[in-house]
């Protein structure tokens, strides 16, 4: 069996902030390898550093020391322009509070990453429709986020994350604002996406039971450090 190259490799990654005279180590010397196609759940209590780690993988933040390599690209050495391209082309993001733009319709929200990637207008409509079909919201295409339930809004956010066909999907507490049934539905959707079309997923959550049911592997963080790292089931 040929082993695939890792999708993400973190090497001795630290991220520290200075607040007045004190130094806060949000992420402290974390090394972690995530193979392509894996669904990894990052678990931990509030302030454990899991969201900071996710932001480092997303290229929204840079490590103070160490390196983050995603699909062969060392993010710590990239220019801000190259990082923006990485966020456009390689990763898709889903947030706890959905972060849909309220004055745009679902179609326009999902189209936004395609605009940023300068995809031709003729191709955009097809790709938006495909993405919304994938999450089962093609009939709500002209609605605004405020007209949808929380679950539907999160599915729209998933469609927006998928529309540029990224290799990595990053989800920050995707079920945090949803009831348990809807949260499960969202994780089922993520699991399906992981298998078809095949995607690496890193999900930050504090719901261990859900993580154990849906993720391939759990990485547990505490005080900025990686405490344990093993198969979910």
């Amino acid at each position: 069996m040929t082993e695939l190259p890792p999708a993400i490799r973190l090497e001795s990654v630290s991220r520290q902030y200075t607040m007045g005279e004190s130094v806060i180590r949000a992420v402290n010397d974390v090394s972690l390898t995530i193979p392509s196609g894996e669904f990894l759940a990052l678990l931990g209590s509030s302030g454990s550093g899991k969201s900071t780690l996710l932001n480092l993988i997303a290229g929204l933040d840079r490590p103070s020391t160490g390196s983050v390599v995603a699909h062969g690209q060392d993010l710590s050495k990239m220019s801000s322009l190259a990082l923006a391209r990485y966020r456009r082309q390689t990763v898709g993001m889903v947030f706890q509070s959905f972060n849909l733009l309220p004055r745009m319709t679902l179609e326009e929200n999902v189209e936004l990453p395609l605009r940023l990637a300068e995809v031709d207008r003729s191709e955009r409509a097809t790709r938006v429709r495909e993405a919304l079909q994938r999450v089962g919201l093609e009939k709500r295409i002209g609605h605004r986020p405020s007209e949808l339930s929380g679950g539907e809004q999160q599915r729209t956010a998933v469609a927006r994350a998928l529309v540029n066909r990224p290799k990595i999907l990053l989800a920050d507490e995707p079920t945090g604002n949803l009831d348990s049934a809807t949260g499960e539905a969202i994780l089922t959707l993520l699991r399906e996406i992981q298998k078809n079309p095949g995607m690496t997923i890193v999900m930050v959550t504090h719901e261990r039971t859900l993580a154990e049911r849906f993720a391939d592997r759990l990485a547990i963080m505490g005080d900025g450090k990686l405490l344990s790292n093993g198969a979910a089931r």
Binding site: R85, R87, N99, L101, A117, E118
Partner: protein
């Protein structure tokens, strides 16, 4: 991001805060309007002055006089004086020669003489002036009662209003009436032989000629520099020349010993194709042996004055635009604060700093463009209103109307571009602030 998508997003954002953005745009519009209104008046006044002066023929004309000066210092009686080798008599030959010079449009003498006019059986003493055909477009006859001479050879007369009132206070009733001009015709003695032959002397014979009054003009077209003295009775120049009326300079001709039967002129007005040709033609005329001078220098001074006026107007009206610029900065800074989370989302989805910066620049440019267009229209309206008010006043004073406001295409274009430029400058700080927002912080912002 492509420009079309940027503009699309920018318009959407501007529509979101429609009241605030409309007020900001209105601020820009007021600034631009004050600029356009002030400049339209500056430009209008300049055009009015320039066209009046151009029509007056003062700036495309050269005034030629003979170089000989009988009263020159150290000059003895003409017989004993050594004549200037280059000095020439300004006679018909000289006139013909000047007419043949390149770029010369017209050469005409200044003919004016005292006369007695008989109208309705009563005598009136006045000054007659011969008007060249070209004076029709000088603007002096604009708004006259009646019309200009039907031809250069018509026995027609135009009266100056003051003189017309002497004849009949109801000046309009004069038109179509007949008047008799009594004048002294110059008849050369030299041509008749005898003792006086070759002396250039002449006799003066009283003559009469009938003219039909065809118009009354308010202004004094024949007055002022290069004109014809206070001409109160204007007749076609060609007719004035054929009258061979005795003029003041005839006496000088005798003293000078001119034996020519051809008339000589105290001065000739030479009109060239454009003011730019005046200088060269003036030099050539001097080379021919005449005295020549023009008013070109005054025109340059006038242009300089209007430049300074325009600069002052721009400085004063720019104050309003400066205030409007602060309004744009304020609006966009507010927008950056309000849209922090949205900027964070855009960055998380892959927007580069450059994309965010451009988005705010497009928004600033749209505010400037709309403000510039609206402001130009308002400024034009203000200019028209002031011009209208001025004309109402002028009419109430029985004066002819003038156009003191002008918005040429370059002013429209320059004001709109200026408004956009100023708005982009105002957008520099907010756009840079938006572009450098930390996406992690921005996404956390509630």
């Amino acid at each position: 991001m492509k420009l079309r998508d940027l503009s699309d997003l920018a318009f959407r954002n501007l529509r979101e805060a429609v009241l605030r953005n409309s007020l900001t745009t209105l601020g820009v519009a007021v600034g631009v309007a004050s600029l356009v209104a002030m400049l339209s008046l500056g430009v209008g006044l300049q055009q009015l002055a320039t066209s009046r002066l151009a029509k007056s023929g003062l700036f495309d004309s050269i005034f030629v006089t003979p170089k000989t000066n009988l009263r020159g210092p150290g000059a003895g009686p003409p017989a004993t004086r050594t004549p200037d080798a280059k000095a020439r008599l300004l006679d018909a030959d000289a006139r013909a020669e000047i007419s043949r010079m390149p770029n010369v449009v017209e050469v005409y003498p200044q003919i004016r003489f005292f006369t007695e006019v008989r109208y309705d059986g009563k005598p009136y003493a006045t000054m007659v002036a011969g008007m060249p055909e070209s004076s029709k477009v000088s603007g002096a006859f604009d708004g006259m009662q009646g019309h200009f001479f039907s031809s250069a050879n018509a026995d027609e007369a135009i009266l100056q209003a003051e003189f017309a009132k002497e004849l009949n206070p109801q000046t309009s009733s004069l038109i179509g009436k007949d008047l008799i001009l009594r004048y002294a015709e110059r008849q050369s003695l030299g041509a008749q032989g005898g003792d006086a032959a070759g002396s250039g002397g002449f006799s003066v014979v009283p003559k009469e000629k009938h003219f039909v009054i065809i118009g009354v003009v308010e202004t004094e077209p024949a007055s002022g520099f290069g004109g014809f003295g206070n001409g109160r009775l204007l007749i076609p120049l060609t007719i004035a020349e054929t009258l061979r009326a005795a003029q003041v300079n005839d006496l000088r001709d005798i003293l000078r010993g001119s034996s020519s039967d051809k008339p000589s002129y105290s001065s000739l007005t030479v009109r060239v194709k454009s003011p730019s040709l005046v200088e060269a033609t003036e030099a050539k005329l001097k080379d021919l042996g005449f005295s020549a001078f023009s008013l070109l220098d005054i025109s340059k001074t006038l242009r300089g004055f209007f430049k300074v006026l325009d600069i002052l107007l721009v400085i004063f009206s720019s104050v309003a635009l400066a205030v409007a610029t602060l309004g744009i900065v304020n609006t966009l800074v507010m927008a950056v604060l309000e849209r922090r989370r949205e900027i964070g989302v855009l960055k998380a989805l892959g927007a580069a700093d450059r994309d965010v910066k451009q988005l705010f620049f497009v928004e600033a440019a749209v505010l400037g463009l709309v403000g510039g267009i609206v402001g130009t229209v308002i400024g034009w309206l203000i200019g028209r209103t002031i011009a209208f008010g001025t004309n109402v006043y002028l009419h109430s004073q029985n004066l002819s109307s003038v156009d003191i406001s002008s918005v040429p295409w370059w002013l429209v274009l320059a004001s709109i571009l200026f408004a956009v430029g100023v708005s982009l400058a105002a957008g520099l700080y907010p756009a840079s602030r938006a572009a450098h927002l930390d996406p992690v912080q921005a996404l956390r912002y509630e």
